[in-house]
């Protein structure tokens, strides 16, 4: 047997064309985000984003399962309210953006700081592989917050409901949820990667995108608060009173609808509703209502929220695209 040489060995195996490169890049980006606070945030966002809806659905069906025959009208109305899923996803949207900031804002900055861009550019990759990889990595985090709990709740409800007719009636929900989740993914990744790319430190990228998000969100909050939220709570008090005074079933239903509308995070009922478009989560939620088939009445002749929801991330990804090229030239 020849003595095995301890030196360099040539490689004679197969070499691929590098078609799945962006998946490898996304995988590496996800792996480095396996940090504890990302998981804590994930947990929090699942809780904040979906707890209310889970509670409503379970409160409707669990008594039935336990054999109580007279349904509670309050919970039944909520569990089958057409805005249940879009509202749930609207709440998730804010947390999805926060999640995206935690996970993705520093991605480009970190690569710039540690020279990882040079590493990538020395490999047989295209710029598209790189950008796509990063978008996919943020999108996965966003889908975990949005799509996953929604589909789970839908499954739970479908199982409890048990009727095929119900499933047929609500068959559009999973598709709308998927479409909306993808929209949020695109927006979130475009937003955090584009804004984050201006900085060269993970910390500053995170701060910059958080500041932009919170700044917009605060602005919308101050100028056009969603009804029943930060305001005086007057609307809430009035509805509760109406509910207490309701005598007929019709009156109760109307009051309940008013309550669910007042909790609507889009703030469609607020005074300066057009300012709500400043808050990205509200704009996205308006698109979500379109997808779920319960559009918010709008004073505008054109679908402004769609233009914002698609145009902003694409423009920001354009910023990123230029930034990745600039590094090639600057030594």
């Amino acid at each position: 047997m020849p003595i095995l040489e301890q030196g360099y060995e040539p490689y004679r195996g197969p070499v691929g064309g590098g078609r799945g490169n962006f998946l490898a890049i996304a995988g590496a980006a996800l792996r480095r985000n396996r940090r504890w606070y990302a998981w804590v945030l994930l947990l929090l966002s699942l809780l904040f984003g979906s707890a209310k809806e889970y509670f409503l659905v379970l409160a409707c069906y669990v008594p039935r399962a336990l054999g109580f025959t007279d349904d509670n009208p309050f919970f039944t109305a909520f569990a089958n309210h057409p805005n249940l899923y879009p509202d749930m996803m609207a709440t998730q949207t804010f947390w999805a953006l926060v999640m995206a900031i935690t996970v993705g804002a520093g991605e480009i900055a970190e690569d710039l700081r540690t020279g990882a861009l040079v590493f990538y550019l020395g490999r047989p990759l295209t710029r598209l592989d790189y950008v796509l990889g990063k978008v996919v990595s943020v999108s996965v985090a966003v889908l975990l917050v949005t799509l996953l709990p929604t589909l789970l709740l839908f499954t739970v409800q479908a199982v409890f409901e048990g009727r095929w007719e119900w499933l047929a009636e609500h068959a559009a929900i999973p598709f709308a949820a998927l479409g909306y989740s993808l929209l949020v993914s695109l927006f979130a990744s475009g937003f955090v990667l584009g804004v984050g790319a201006v900085a060269r430190r993970r910390r500053w990228a995170t701060v910059a995108s958080a500041a932009v998000l919170l700044g917009l969100w605060f602005t919308a909050l101050v100028v056009a608060p969603p009804t029943g939220w930060t305001g005086s709570g007057m609307e809430e008090r009035r509805i509760k009173q109406a509910l207490a005074e309701a005598r007929t079933e019709e009156e109760t239903k109307a009051a309940l609808k008013r309550l669910s509308d007042s909790l609507d995070p889009i703030g469609s009922a607020s005074e300066r509703a057009e300012w709500r478009a400043l808050a990205p989560d509200s704009t996205l939620a308006a698109c979500g209502r379109d997808l779920f088939g319960t559009p918010v009445p709008s004073n505008f002749p054109w679908k402004r929220h769609w233009v914002l929801a698609l145009g902003v991330p694409l423009a920001l990804l354009g910023v990123l695209w230029r930034r990745v090229r600039a590094v090639e030239i600057v030594s």
Binding site: Y8, G16, G115, G122
Partner: protein, 320 residues
């Protein structure tokens, strides 16, 4: 079961590895490269030049990261403008600056580099281990790269450049910031690659002593042009009738004796450079040492160091 790798087109021993024809590149009004025509022979080539001479621009053009403003380039027979990915698949590039992915261990980052270069996942992992062994990174490779010292990061970068078994290596300042031991080891690896494993190496370095000891050929760029080019011996040449002399103790008496014998004496650091009249060889030096009782320790023909060539070429380039 896997199809054998499409073996690279056989390059015969003398065909140029890199061939540039009138390559130029402008950044705005700045002319970074000004009509460089060049054939880099196989073996190891030192690419030298002062800061701003256009070295990194040239590397970027060769890697297909930057299109040249004028001229044609070919790397291993591939045009980097038309097929940049094809070039980068067959070339290993070790950047000068840190280039790592945070959160990945040493071995993960090398195998990741392999995957991105088209290796199957398992093959990439196997090669990552083998290559890291080869460049001398032991158990530390299971730790994260950001915890590594400069020297270890340098080795990881070299391993990343090697993992896909490229035919040509671009090494940008591979020994910068290393201690003498580490530098010697890396140079040994580079020599081994170019002499025993047939890799073509292009080495950029400011440490000319390292280039002297590693490379067969030298290309010297200055102000975007090729200032000198040739084999190491051609470029360095020698200064006839000059000797480098070293000894111990006060040398005044020795120097006086030498001058009396018709020699010229100049100081060069701790050494003396002695010019002897034609054909006398070292005899006057030995005689003067014996007469003056100076403790002579070394005599050797004065060689022109690469540094001298470099400084001279750059100075004349600036004057022109």
């Amino acid at each position: 079961m896997d199809a054998p790798a499409p073996s690279p087109p056989p390059t015969d021993g003398s065909a140029p590895v890199v061939s540039l024809r009138g390559i130029g590149r402008d950044f705005g009004r700045v002319r970074a490269l000004d009509g460089v025509t060049l054939d880099l022979p196989p073996g190891s080539v030192g690419l030298l030049g002062p800061n701003g001479a256009g070295k990194s621009t040239m590397l970027k053009i060769l890697l297909g990261l930057l299109p040249p403003s004028r001229g044609e380039a070919s790397v291993l027979g591939v045009d980097p403008v038309r097929d940049p990915r094809g070039v980068r698949r067959r070339v290993g590039y070790m950047p000068e600056v840190d280039a790592y992915i945070t959160g990945l261990t040493g071995v993960e980052s090398v195998s990741y580099a392999g995957v991105l270069s088209g290796l199957p996942r398992s093959a990439a992992m196997q090669r990552a281990h083998a290559v890291l062994h080869y460049v001398g990174l032991g158990e530390i490779r299971y730790r994260k790269v950001e915890e590594f010292s400069t020297g270890m990061r340098q080795r990881v970068r070299l391993a990343q450049a090697l993992v896909h078994d490229p035919d040509l290596l671009f090494l940008d300042e591979p020994t910068n910031g290393l201690d003498p031991d580490g530098r010697e080891e890396i140079l040994e690896v580079i020599r081994d690659l170019s002499t025993r494993h047939g890799k073509r190496v292009v080495l950029c370095s400011h440490l000319l002593r390292d280039v002297e000891r590693t490379c067969d050929h030298v290309v010297l760029l200055a102000a975007g042009r090729v200032a000198r080019q040739g084999t190491m011996a051609e470029v360095r040449g020698g200064r006839k009738d000059f000797l480098r002399v070293r000894g111990r103790g006060e040398s005044a008496g020795f120097e006086a004796t030498l001058r009396a014998a018709g020699c010229s004496v100049a100081r060069a650091g701790a050494d003396l450079v002695v010019g002897v009249p034609g054909g006398a060889g070292t005899a006057p030096v030995f005689r003067a040492a014996a007469e003056s009782g100076w403790d002579l320790r070394a005599v050797a023909p004065e060689e022109v160091s690469l540094e001298d060539v470099f400084v001279e070429a750059v100075a004349s380039g600036n004057g022109a």
